[in-house]
């Protein structure tokens, strides 16, 4: 098994067997993080550049730790301390960094399509760490990995994705990822935050919270941003809390062994009751743990591609 693409930009580019390959590889790498000495020489001599145009806690530290555990040389560029503040374009930033011969870029950007754009200007591998409202493929892989650990198989699972789907890159990647593996995906949100024209096999829009949650095997809650009220997507955070929060009562309609995920950062008691997180019955921290393994796997797989093709 191998992967024959230079970049990881979108889950749409992956086949079901590609996804399984990433997860299997991540399962192997997860063992490294459980060892006493959490370091392997796999990426010795490789240079990885992390460029984050948006604030990030989880994703950024997860990538950095993955790189360190694999002995890659990495550097992280915070946009606030870079030439971007002097007006340098994304293209020029990449062309300049490219001249220093890195092997991979990890890019987080507020504009959709940014990773795709960058990939055209570099021979290095590009990993999309989130582009605008479009995709967040490594988050999708770690979500699938987390569910697989609990359910063995994705096929035929009922997966409910609830919240600001329209603005969520996590939702977009998860919708493609889980449906590709044969899950039945139910989306629910106020209609103002739902994709209007969605035409993907195994994906449907639920009529209400109950239809989305009933007997669900997996529930993925999404963050709602306060500024959505300013643009009329929702009336107010208070109303959102009243009608779209995952409460323990609602969750009790799901399957007994439901896996609850949230990509973070969590607004406790807005999209999800704090008590659900406190109960320890969510897999939110398992997601974070698996994030490191998934990112190790992604780096490994893309570097293997580079080795083969250069």
């Amino acid at each position: 098994m191998s992967f024959n693409k230079k970049d990881l930009i979108s889950i749409k580019d992956l086949s079901a067997s590609d996804i399984n390959y990433f997860i299997e590889t991540a399962n192997e790498f997860k063992k490294i993080s459980l060892k006493d000495i959490k370091k392997v020489p796999t990426l010795r001599g490789k240079t990885v550049v992390n460029i984050f145009y948006e604030p990030s806690t989880r994703t950024r530290s997860s990538f950095e730790i993955a790189q360190k555990r694999m002995s890659a040389d990495s550097l992280s560029i915070s946009v606030s301390q870079s030439s971007v503040t002097k007006g340098e374009s994304l293209k020029d930033t990449i062309l300049n960094l490219e001249a220093m011969k890195p092997d991979a870029f990890v890019l987080r950007h507020s504009e959709s399509g940014a990773a795709h754009f960058v990939s055209k200007w570099t021979k290095s591998s590009v990993i999309n760490a989130g582009d605008g409202i479009n995709e967040h493929p490594t988050q999708c892989l770690l979500d699938i990995m987390t569910v697989m650990e609990e359910k063995k198989e994705i096929k035929s699972l009922k997966v409910a994705i609830i919240g600001d789907i329209y603005h969520s890159r996590v939702a977009r990647s998860d919708i493609y990822g889980f449906s590709k593996l044969g899950a039945n995906v139910y989306l629910y949100a106020p209609h103002s935050l739902l994709p209007r024209l969605i035409d993907i096999k195994n994906v449907k829009i639920a009529k209400n919270m109950k239809e989305a949650l009933k007997d669900a095997d997996v529930v993925i809650m999404l963050r709602i941003q306060k500024e959505r009220a300013s643009y009329y997507f929702i009336p107010s955070i208070e109303e959102y809390r009243n009608f779209f929060q995952l409460t323990p009562e609602l969750l009790s309609m799901a399957s007994k062994r439901v896996t609850v995920l949230h990509p973070g950062p969590v607004n406790r008691d807005i999209e999800i009751a704090g008590s659900i997180i406190n109960s320890g019955k969510t897999s939110i921290f398992k997601q974070v743990e698996n994030g490191v393994a998934v990112r190790m796997a992604c780096l490994y797989i893309l570097m293997s591609y580079q080795k083969k093709n250069n």
């Binding site: 106020p190 103002s192 209007r196 009329y232 929702i234 009336p235 107010s236 208070e238 109303e239 009243n242």
Partner: protein, 425 residues
Amino acid sequence: MQKILIKNGIVVDPLTKTEVKRDIYIEGGIIKDIPLKQKKTGFKTLDAENSIVFPGLIDMHVHLREPGYEYKETIKSGMEAAIAGGFTSICCMPNTNPVNDSNIVTGFLSDKAKNLNLINLFTIGAISKGLQGTSLANIGELKESGAVAISDDGNPVEDAALMGRALLYSRTFDLPVISHSEDAKLRGKGVINEGVISERLGIAGIPSIAEEIGVSRDIMLAGYYGVNIHIAHISTSGSVDIIKRAKQSGINVTCETCPHYFSLSEDALLDYNTNAKMNPPLRTKKDVDAIVKALYDGTIDAIASDHAPHSEDEKDATLDAAPFGIIGLQTSLPLTLRLFYNKKISLMQIAELMSFNPAKILKLSGRGSLQNGYLADVTIVNIKKEWKFTKSMIKSLSKNSPFIGEKFKGAATAVIVDGRLIEIN
């Protein structure tokens, strides 16, 4: 609870499309089919000879002025006017003070109506907070507290993005949206219909396209987003055409007009009569004809009064200064019956326009029909009775009607609300 038998009336039922002389039994607040053999004792008999028995009339567009402007109208005085006009249900618009954009105001209205125990009051909440057109009201909260629709009536929602998202968001709660469709800037400082009369009087005009552009925009939003929309108080031939085409193309649009738009033209303004000033304004004779035709051909779904009380002092002013709006609860049915006598529409169509369709548009379950099992909301109309509408008959606290002194044929003589008989004298 009363057991009532309505005898000898012609029962007009839109659900079954039947118009036959038959008896109606009411028991436990419900219309009951009672088998022929069964004993029928203890029923209070109501003789409906010479009368039409309609499913209870619903006025889906009423301005009660409580809270905030109780000198114009209270919930009680509005309901008394509604009873006199033959209505069993009225729906009140949110432009009170405070605006009905919360469960607090909705709860206040419902509690008050419940205590009055007169007729059914259904509340319509605001689309935007404070009717300001800048952010969405808590629409889910409004629905949960009992609102049957949302509307910013009185103001158009100027921001198309807000209107579009309101349509989408309210769909989540299956809550109808009623649009006061108008381009506010085109209306500008206009007071009456822009045309020959406004020129002659030297009064700033409201162009018909101010309404039609608004109607077009809102229909386009509904069509694009694949949602329902109800257009309030249409008044022009152009609006009729736009809605007709939209319906033909499969867009889920419904609309209402008001009795004044099919009864009066802009000529009523010739002596600067402020009781003929409302928004949208009275239009041309050609528009009046188009509205009548649209009532017949089904383009228009409902007749609503847009009952808008303003005190005599407020209306006793220049056309420029007087507020927009007229009362209509007591004249809505008689003006509509005129269309029947003039052979423009049938009694069945009246039952549809004033009961069945409003119930359907607002999803008022159990209302709008006289079939077995429906809620016992009934309006009994004596169609022989001839009478004159005088100022002293007005039950509203406000008297702003252009129809004072008019002679009518046909009047409601009793209403039954949830099985409770209210006789009208």
